[in-house]
Amino acid sequence: MISTRFVLKRLLLLVPVLVGVASLVFSILHLSPGDPALTIAGERASEEFVRQVEESLGLNDPIWVQYGRFLADAAQFQFGESFIIQRNTTVREVLANKLPVTLELALYGQLIGISLGIPLGILSAVKQDSITDHLTRIGALAGISVPIFWSGPLLILLFAQVLGLLPTSGRISVLYNVEAIRVTGLVTIDTLIAGELDMFVSAVRHMILPASVIGVYSMALISRMMRSSMLEVIRQDYMRTARAKGQGSKITVLKHGFRNAMIPVITVIGIQFGGLLGGAVLTETVFAIGGIGTLLVEAIKVGDYPIVQGTVLTFAFLFTLVNLGVDITYSILDPRIEQ
């Protein structure tokens, strides 16, 4: 159904983009005003010591040598050790620790977005210009207009402060030690694997607000795209033919319309994954969740360059991979695209 050649071609096309991405990150950090050696050595270190640090980091080498080394390291996902945030820990380890936190948040957010956005979009299209349609459209527009760093605080104030129903921050109650049962790094999964029901409930309760905040945004985008794509498909001749053959309108919509209408929706889901990662940075800040979003913000503030490099490249890599996934799904849904 889907040719290996197509996937290989897409993978090859990724290489120049990823090299470009790595080069951009390299230039950004070299243009930044901070001095990495001084940051590590500390403001009051002797000049000699600062020079030693410079030497050990290879900062005295010509720029193209540094660039080559950076590309080679980036290809192996080696970014050295964190300067400040977690000294003597490799960036790889730090990321391995924090990435699942962000992914879990993005995953649940996306799940909420897709599971609500698609049905709402279809409903809106099928019942075009009804009250349901108007409410969905206005709701979706409001959904993409409300910033996460406003809806988040408001939900915290309502559900946590006023109603006292849900926790306000973190991933799980501080009473539990999740590190002890760590398998995947996703708390909602790890607690289930360990069979700790109390912990699982706590993790889910912590996830509800942040995931909903991200989910609403994603739902809004998906339902908008689903609606307009479905409207376009409904007008196609093959839909009229199906109805003329005497098929019920519900079956027609779902059987013939859905698959074709999904193609642009999948693109939106992919593109919007980038927004989701950006949203994760804000959501993690609002809900005090220690993922790679908050890590990046902290690393930029204190000048922990290896962490900045690692996180930014990870984000870009993830985003590029998702877009590759979108391309492949695309070609499964519409084999003509391969040509």
Binding site: P16, L154, G275, I300, V312, T320
Partner: protein
Amino acid sequence: MSTETKTTTETPAEMGERGLIDRFRASPFVSRLLSNRLALAGIAIIVAMVVIAIYARLFIDLEVISQSQLGTNPNRAAPSVEYLFGTDGQARSLLPRVAYGAWYAMLFGTVTVAASTALGVGLGIIAAYYGDVTDNVIMRTMDVLLAFPSLLLALALVAIFPDELGLWRAVAALTLVYTPRFARVVRGAALTVLENEYIDATVALGAADPRVLVRHVLPNCLAPITVQSTLNFGLAIIDLAALSFLGFGAEAGTPSWGLMLSNGVSQGLLTGIWWWSFFPGLFLALTVLGFNLLGDGMRDALDPRMREAVD
């Protein structure tokens, strides 16, 4: 009778102007846009925000609303008749601060959108017109910029600029982030325009490249550019606030919505002081909603296929 005398006294310039307005009204794009109630609501919100912004800039003294009012005003007072939006941790009334935030949002939002539009339009048109290597170099660079989630690229770029620039570094970072979107849209539109025979005719008549691009290609790409700019306006205002919220935008003490929200979250949330987050966020969300409503309406008006589906 009176109208007759009026028209005869009109200068040619005035007549030209009237002709323009009539042409504007008669354009199917404008009439479709003005018959869209949601788009009108968007325009109303934007106009209201612009009025608030200009009023704040002219009549509110930035120094006065930035100074601590401890001892003069009640500290952390909840909204009341006297302090409509309540007071903050330095006893400053929030109402004039939130109003002044509209000025910041509009000013920096406009600069960001204008700069990225100009840059993107230039690159897009050049890529489309010269094609080949030029096209490839420009568009592949744009691809690299598009490979990053936008807010994260902005965060990384902000680090290049010195702190002293305050909100301007957020503007610079976001300009670079948004440029590729405009370049793509404009390149696509320009390629279509370039296929027209009148372009070949102009070139054959010996028009120089800049003249062809500015006089003939650009005007025919204006519609998609305008829609993209409007939709991007809302995004720019959110992202500027987001960067301030994360600590990479407005300097401490500036009455920007993002900074006020950051303060509301870090200090007001656990103490239940809802008005520190509520009012700045409400204004921010309303402004963005206004631009999204208008942008959506413009897109529908430009691409009437969606409308025809109704009929």
